[in-house]
């Protein structure tokens, strides 16, 4: 039974990846006027110093991906490359390949988003649980309104407002970038402090919005568990409030939150594209934005593929771990 389930999930995983790769392959060929070819021709026409490089690249592409071969041969060779995470060359910065560019940006994004997501998750879950708890201090209930308002703001718009308030009007934080121009990237305390200082503002805009959303979900779940018979029974037994709160209400309400957490961690790779762009943060999001404005198709497709990969992976991981968190769930689901 378990094995069967595992295989089914792995099959789904492969289907998603195959779908993403196929979409990557088909889109430029279906779009009006094959944008990739057009982009290459344009780059060649602009010529100048780059001309030779671009011609090299077109030749390299023909060799590697067989662009002069029939479509199905191209498709198969494309799939082969995609599954080895090889996305070819960057159009805008020719001799560089796409994969190392992504690897370089990834640590920045992961550091920013993982910490922002975890902080928001912890804060929001606790806040939401208290909002629904009858014996919580009264001021916490007043936070429900603001958290609705805050969670409905797209986080990148809050980012713009924060840049203006804390970067321009009261210049407390640096406006953009991941570190000062003078600092050498490396694992020195100075660099780490500097990187932290630069990431505070983007992190703040992510945390504030996400906290509101986590709190709202948690409040909804808490209301349900508080109405359950086992909570009433725990109260009747005379357990302490603290014990009922943590071990009865919160423990049972937290499960869907954990699922959502795993999913949002899967989204980390795509980064907060827009926030990174606004803050000029050197992560995958900024890279993606650069790729979009430079119509660097191979870079775009590479980043999208990596993200789909990490999200489907997170989904599978949570599915397999879930029975450990919640013993009521076995793999016997259909």
């Amino acid at each position: 039974m378990q094995l069967h389930y595992l295989f089914r999930r792995l099959g789904q995983f492969l289907v998603v990846l195959w779908g993403a790769a196929t979409l990557n392959f088909l889109l430029p060929r279906l779009a009006p006027g094959n944008p990739v070819r057009e982009r290459l021709t344009n780059a060649m026409a602009q010529g100048g110093l780059l001309q030779e490089g671009i011609e090299d690249m077109v030749r390299a592409y023909n060799r590697e991906f067989g662009l002069d071969q029939p479509l199905y041969v191209q498709y198969l060779s494309y799939l082969g490359h995609a599954f080895r995470l090889d996305f070819g060359y960057s159009i805008a910065q020719y001799p560089r390949r796409v994969a190392p560019m992504i690897w370089e940006a990834l640590p920045w994004t992961i550091a920013l988003l993982v910490s922002a997501t975890l902080i928001a998750f912890a804060l929001g879950t606790l806040l939401g649980a208290l909002m629904a708890w009858p014996r919580a201090p009264r001021w916490i209930k007043w936070l429900a309104g603001p958290s609705i308002a805050v969670s409905s703001i797209p986080y990148f718009l809050l980012g713009l407002v924060l840049v203006y308030l804390l970067g321009v009007v009261f210049p407390i934080f640096p406006l953009s970038g991941g570190y000062d121009v003078g600092t050498m990237p490396g694992l020195t305390p100075r660099f780490i402090l500097d990187a932290l200082r630069h990431s505070l503002l983007p992190a703040l805009s992510l945390v504030v919005v996400a906290t509101g959303a986590w709190a709202l979900h948690m409040r909804g779940m808490m209301v349900t568990t508080e109405g359950e018979d086992y909570t009433t029974y725990a109260e009747a037994k005379g357990l302490t409030d603290r014990r009922i709160f943590y071990h009865y209400a919160l423990r049972n309400a937290i499960l869907p939150q954990v699922t959502a957490l795993a999913l949002s961690l899967g989204h980390v790779v795509s980064g907060a594209v827009i926030v990174e762009k606004i803050f000029g943060y050197p992560g995958v999001g900024s890279l993606l934005f650069q790729a979009i404005s430079g119509l660097d198709y191979f870079l775009i497709y590479g980043i999208v593929f990596m993200t789909v990969l990490s999200i489907t992976f997170a989904t599978i991981a949570i599915d397999l771990v879930y029975p450990l968190l919640d013993p009521r769930i076995a793999y016997r689901r259909t």
């Binding site: 889109l27 409905s152 990148f156 594209v273």
Partner: protein, 306 residues
């Protein structure tokens, strides 16, 4: 699910109908008092729609195009929201932009809901392998990061994007949630006694779906629609802020994009990016309240807790 049973087309006795009709206007008012979220949400969305309808009577909408007024003017008597680097009257840009952004949302939301209803009915009512296939496709697509796929599509057809195309692109990934909601509703409604009575009395499947199932799902459909509109607007603004929107239309997201593109934040031109952000936030709060209000109609069990 008390409300769905009340709403079922069981023939009530005549006095009951008469009594209900006499107090209908009054009970709508009374219900509004019990469900202030819905009222507030609809009022906010209505207000924004109203700006788009009434605004053109007071503002010359041609000034929403570039090079129509003096550039970089701070708010003044003549231009209440100032103007931007390319000489748009920003008040005019807002009056034109709000309905455009709403239109993207409504187009995507309607198509998403439409596809969702058809697939959800098929899956829930027919069951069998159709259900299995639809469920697998939905489950698979739900794990795909929608914004990224949209970015990919939009980047591939960058020069050709209009407000309508934008709505359709977003709709292509907006139907999964409605499909799920409709399917699960059909599954519970299908076994209800009144549906079985309808089936025994010889109604065709289509008649059962149109006359028995759909009317009972209305609150759910409305909530699904609002949810779809809200996420469509969010997606559209995300795409636009990245520069992947309709280049010649001053939608809210495009105005924010241009402001960011011309460094309006560092230059302190708050009147350029402030109002569109404010309107976007207002719109999301309005949609959120509306869907919370509709949710209360659909799930009366929640009423006590609110």
């Amino acid at each position: 699910m008390a409300s769905t049973q009340l709403a079922a087309p069981v023939q009530p006795v005549d006095e009951f109908v008469a009594a209900r009709d006499r107090t209908r206007a009054g009970s709508v008012l009374a219900y509004c008092r019990r469900n202030p979220q819905l009222v507030a949400g609809l009022a906010i969305v209505g207000l924004l729609l109203g700006i788009g309808l009434v605004g053109p009577l007071f503002v010359d909408v041609r000034e929403a195009q570039p090079t129509s007024v003096m550039i970089d003017q701070p708010p003044s008597q003549e231009y209440p929201l100032g103007s931007d680097d390319q000489g748009r009257n920003l008040l005019a840009a807002m009056v034109v932009g709000i309905p455009l952004t709403l239109r993207v949302g409504f187009v995507a939301g309607s198509f998403g809901l439409g596809i969702g209803v058809v697939l959800g009915l098929l899956a829930g009512y027919r069951g069998g392998w159709i259900d299995a296939v639809i469920r697998m496709v939905v489950d698979t697509l739900m794990t795909v990061p929608a914004l990224l796929v949209l970015i990919m599509i939009a980047a591939s057809i960058k020069g050709f994007i209009s407000v309508w195309i934008m709505g359709l692109i977003i709709a292509s990934l907006a139907w999964m949630n409605p499909t799920r909601i409709v399917r699960s509703q059909v599954l519970t409604l299908r076994e209800r006694a009144y549906v079985q009575v309808a089936r025994l009395s010889g109604m065709s499947d289509l008649e059962i779906i149109v006359r028995e199932l759909l009317p009972n799902m209305l609150p759910y459909l409305a909530a699904a629609f609002v949810g779809a509109v809200s996420s469509a607007v969010l997606a559209s603004i995300g795409l636009e802020v990245l520069g992947l929107g309709p280049q010649n239309d001053p939608t809210l997201g495009m105005t924010i994009y241009w402001a960011n593109n011309f460094n309006a934040i560092l230059r302190g031109m708050w009147w350029w990016w402030g109002p569109p952000i404010l309107v976007v936030v207002l719109l999301f709060v309005g949609l959120f309240l509306t869907s919370a209000g509709l949710d209360e109609i659909a799930n009366p069990r929640k009423r006590k807790q609110a």
